[in-house]
Structure formats: structure tokens, C-alpha cells
Symmetry: C2
Subunit: 252 residues, 2 copies
């Protein structure tokens, strides 16, 4: 159920280092997909549109860094964003890939003086909508239905991470990788003559960071999956050829 197939035109890599902000005039399509927005009462919906600001980032930039104070509530409009945490030893772990329609900082943004628990890195050119903590907080206070939608969203996120923690705790490296691929098919898979293609560009290193193994291990396992005709291709053109085979391995 892909909300938006991250269809970016040839945006080229302009030096838009400092995010180019401009107020969103009319409801962008993406908002119409978001319950949180749809549950707002008429006047508050208009208020939210006034408060939302659009910003664009390119690969290599950061939307925010781990430890920085939270300033905004965010909605991902276009592209993919990875949530990364790093450990003392410099190793990194990617906890989640956000797709268009995903909310972020919906929790941290309600705390005074909260800091970002992780870094948000664009995986290509992305566009986000955001509003100040204050405006977000006011909106929730005036719209219990919206607050309940946020609770639902957070609840889903919580269940996702718990499932992920379970997999990290109990499964072997190849099973974790299989689980990841199965998961990504649902989030960013599109039909392809040879199977299902993932629209997110994922290197073996990206995958390694998502399942807690070294890059070499991810490469070796992917090579095996390739031999076993479960997948084919690399980063920019990754095809899932045997989804049920992967599912079976994931839960073996």
C-alpha cells in the first residue's frame, strides 16, 4: 500500500543547503492522506495550513541531529528519510525508514526541552512539512480527535519497533535480512516484470545498518539470496523475486 511512489523529477542537486522555506498555500495532496489532518475541524485545518512550512533537503544533509533540541513537528511529504542512532564506538544503526505520509517528532515535540533521540537523514531529495512545537501543541489541545490519531500513530510505531527488537533479539542474520526485505516490500514495493521492485535505494551497507550486522555479512547473505533466486540486483534496482520464500526464511 504505497502512499506515494516517491516520484521525483530530475531535481538535480542544487546547492539548497539551507532549506528553502515557503508557506504551503493549498492543502498538499499528502495531507489528504493523513488522518491527523482529516480529523481537524474546519477552522483548525486552515490554521494548520497556515502554520505548516515546507522545506527541502538533499542527500548528505541532515534534517536534524541526535541530541539537538526539538523545534518542530514534521510530516514527510516526498522522498524517504532514515532515522539513525549512533553508539559510542562510532557504529550506526538505522531504526526506521520513513515514507511519505509518515509523521515524525510527534512525541518529542510535546515536551519542553526535549532532544532528538536520533538523526534524520534524507535518502535522496526529500520534502517535508513542519510546524512549530507550540502550534502543534495548541492544535492537539483543541482537537482531541487529532490527538487520538497521534496516539494511534505512535501505537503503531511502538508495535513496529517492538517487533523489530524481537527480531534483533532472537533471529539469525539471514532471517533478519529476510524480514527486512519482506517489510520493505510492503512499504515501498512496486510491481515489476521480474517480481517486486523496491523504490527506496538501499545499499548493502544500508541493509546492514538496519539489521545490525556488518556490511560484509549483508553482502554475503544477499549474494546467497541471489544464488537462491530470492532476490536480484543491487541498490538502485533491487528486485524481490520470491517473496514467499523470504517470508518462510524470516519465520523459520
Amino acid at each position: 500500500m504505497t502512499i506515494l511512489a516517491s516520484g521525483r523529477g530530475p531535481l538535480s542537486k542544487q546547492p539548497n543547503k539551507s532549506p528553502s522555506n515557503h508557506a504551503a498555500a493549498n492543502p498538499p495532496d499528502i495531507l489528504k492522506q493523513i488522518p491527523l489532518f482529516n480529523f481537524l475541524r474546519g477552522q483548525d485545518r486552515l490554521a494548520m495550513l497556515r502554520e505548516l512550512t515546507e522545506a527541502r533537503y538533499g542527500k548528505g544533509e541532515c534534517i536534524f541531529r541526535e541530541g539537538e533540541p526539538t523545534e518542530y513537528f514534521h510530516i514527510l511529504k516526498e522522498g524517504a528519510v532514515k532515522c539513525v542512532k549512533s553508539s559510542a564506538g562510532g557504529k550506526e544503526c538505522t531504526l526506521k525508514v520513513l515514507m511519505p505520509g509518515d509523521l515524525f517528532c510527534c512525541e518529542a515535540a510535546v515536551f519542553d526541552g526535549a532532544c532528538h533521540p536520533g538523526t534524520a537523514q534524507p535518502m535522496g531529495d526529500v520534502s517535508i512539512l513542519r510546524m512549530s512545537k507550540k502550534a502543534y501543541f495548541e492544535m492537539l489541545k483543541r482537537n482531541p480527535d487529532a490527538a487520538i490519531e497521534v496516539i494511534k500513530y505512535l501505537g503503531n510505531r511502538l508495535n513496529e519497533v517492538q517487533e523489530k527488537a524481537k527480531i534483533l533479539a532472537l533471529d539469525r542474520a539471514d532471517q533478519r535480512l529476510a524480514s527486512l526485505l519482506v517489510d520493505l516490500v510492503e512499504r515501498s514495493g512496486v510491481k515489476d516484470p521480474q517480481g517486486i521492485r523496491l523504490t527506496v535505494r538501499l545499499t548493502r551497507q544500508d541493509m546492514a545498518n538496519m539489521v545490525g550486522v556488518t556490511t560484509e555479512t549483508a553482502i554475503r547473505i544477499m549474494a546467497r539470496f541471489n544464488r537462491e533466486r530470492l532476490v536480484s540486483g543491487t541498490a538502485s534496482r533491487l528486485i524481490i523475486k520470491n517473496l514467499s520464500g523470504l517470508k518462510q526464511l524470516a519465520s523459520a
Copy 2:
């Protein structure tokens, strides 16, 4: 910051197999500690007291099982409860130990037809307060401040699990175990002549399930910690003798 030192009298193990329910008459002390409750308006506070039901469970019972439909919103009043997920191969993983004052199912309970993503097992005699999904939902709708408190609670839980996932993904077994012990000190540690004692009863198997290793590995690592004077004792009397040593190991 221990909310309540799980002080249970000699409750003995009466055959209270089917939870003995009875309406909570006056605000139990534990509720006064919970922001969610304190943010309710007067009349809604009374309504919540009317809706809340107390139930007791003993070790070996289940409060609910993975996959069962959700019926209630819960507050832990007394004792400790572990949240467990199990995998296809029969292996189990303990995601979280709930302590008095913790909420559970605050997220699932807002969905129609949701199922429990894990099993809730008492770690001894416990007492919980609960209310029907419907009453909980109504309460949130009428009290935006309460809903915001739930958002904060879920946000904290989300950050916790993400931190845990990071540790599972990046750290060695001994570091994961050290992190666990450090964490538990904050949740259930009390002063002791020899250091800090954990009030929760934790076997090596419990610990193993919490950090994703086998029981043997947990035993060996704890034996090493013992030799290194970091900890002493077992399950029912576990003492942390060198907290900063454990912290150092956890983030090495």
C-alpha cells in the same frame, strides 16, 4: 526514582485464578502519581474511578496473551509485569518490565479490533487497575490534556524501545547485559549496605530473554561480572556493586 517499592505483604498464593474484581472506591495512591489521571477534570476523574476495576494475578497466570483481542486499558498498581513476545521457533523475548504506575495497552485500546502484540505476565503477585476500551476512549475524547499525557507516555516508551533496539543491533552480549542492569537500577534499585539491590526478582534466564542471548551465556557473563566485583548474588537478591563500572562497560 522508584514509585513504589513493590511492597507486598505475605499475600500467600490463594487460588485467585480468576481475577477477583471489585470497583476501586477512593483514588488509590498509585493514581495520584499518574499525570494522565491528574490532568482529568473533576467530573471525569470521578467517572474514571467508577470505571476502573481492580484485578489481581499471581505468577504463572497471564493478564493477556499475544494475539488475543484487546478489551481494556491497564494501569499497573502493584508488582511487576513482563511484556513478552515469542517467535515461531518457541523462543521468547522480554521487551519490557512494567513497574507500578506504568500504563499498558494505551495504544492498542484505541483501535477497533486490535490484538495484543505480546503477552503480559506477572513476575509475582500483581494488582492492576483497568477500564474498558470504550470508557477509555470516551475519556480521551473529553480530555485533550489526558490524551496529550498518553502521547507523552507513548513517546517515552517509543524512545526506550528504540534505544533498546540500538543496543540489540550494535552491542556485544556483555554490554547488553550491563546496559540492562544499569537500566534496572533506575527502575527498581534500592539502597543496600553492599551497593544497590534490585527489587524485581530476575533469574539469569529472565535476563537472557531481555537481552537476546541464551541462558548459558547470561550465566557465564554474570559469573564474570561477579568475579570482577561488578555484581553479586542471584535472582531473589541481586546486588549491583559497581554501577559506574557497568555503565562504562555498557558504553565502551
